[in-house]
Subunit: 118 residues, 2 copies
DNA sequence: GCCGGCAGTTTCCAGATGGATACCATGAAA
DNA sequence: TTTCATGGTATCCATCTGGAAACTGCCGGC
């Protein structure tokens, strides 16, 4: 079962904060976001969990990290890959199911919801 | 965040055994499956977890339970609702993403994989 | 020489989760 | 009367997760 595509995918997106991080990276026009930028946007996330998720997403090819050493202080920047962008489109299908069959939550129909606004 | 459609949906399908139970209910032609039938098919699941998941799925409207009191011993039977069937179609989108971008696992392309064979 | 910002790291802790195992009530069959 | 099958319960326990809070190294500015 641990070799299963669906199982592995759910293991990725099912973890707390993962989708919120992906949405945050998708937001706005600038593709790259800095570590503390994400940290501030996600408000109550702890740096431990943020760095944990970012490393996992990097390992899974959903996010790329680049380090800017030309300016001081050195900054880390993160962006979605094509794979990560594609996953957000899949999440839209999940949302559609939820709205159609279960949670008729108006707050989630608009784009202001951090999690559903895709 | 706990009111979020995507979050709630992932909370449902992200739990261990949930999707396997849904797939098992979808398998074959008979819509209703008995408790011990599911238990045997899922092999290593414990009755505690199986009943836990079934109650959750019932509460979420993905599964219906009917009790047959006309025969002895009394049997409980479970079946997918329309909502549950629709969710399995969403899982297919997750699988497609996994196969396209990440896990090119041949075992998951065929229908023999319990988790991916939908 | 101290302070502050960046990007983390480290340690410890509490709660949730699932697994193992044993147990239970019912009623028919042997 | 014991045994069996069904559909669960009840208890205990190890593990896994994420949160809290403090700390680190680097360097530039004041």
């Amino acid at each position: 079962m641990k070799d299963c595509t669906v199982y592995k995918t759910l293991t990725i997106i099912g973890k707390k904060w993962t989708l919120l991080i992906l949405f945050e990276l998708d937001r706005g026009s600038a593709p790259y976001k800095r570590f503390n930028e994400l940290r501030a946007a996600l408000d109550t996330i702890t740096p431990k969990v943020l760095v944990q998720r970012l490393r996992e997403l990097e390992d899974d090819g959903l996010v790329v990290r680049r380090v800017d050493t030309t300016h001081i202080p050195i900054t880390s920047e993160y962006a979605l890959t094509e794979s990560g962008t594609a996953l957000l489109r899949v999440v839209a299908a999940i949302k559609e199911w939820g709205l159609a069959y279960k949670f008729d939550n108006e707050a989630c129909r608009c784009t202001s919801c951090k999690m559903c606004g895709i």
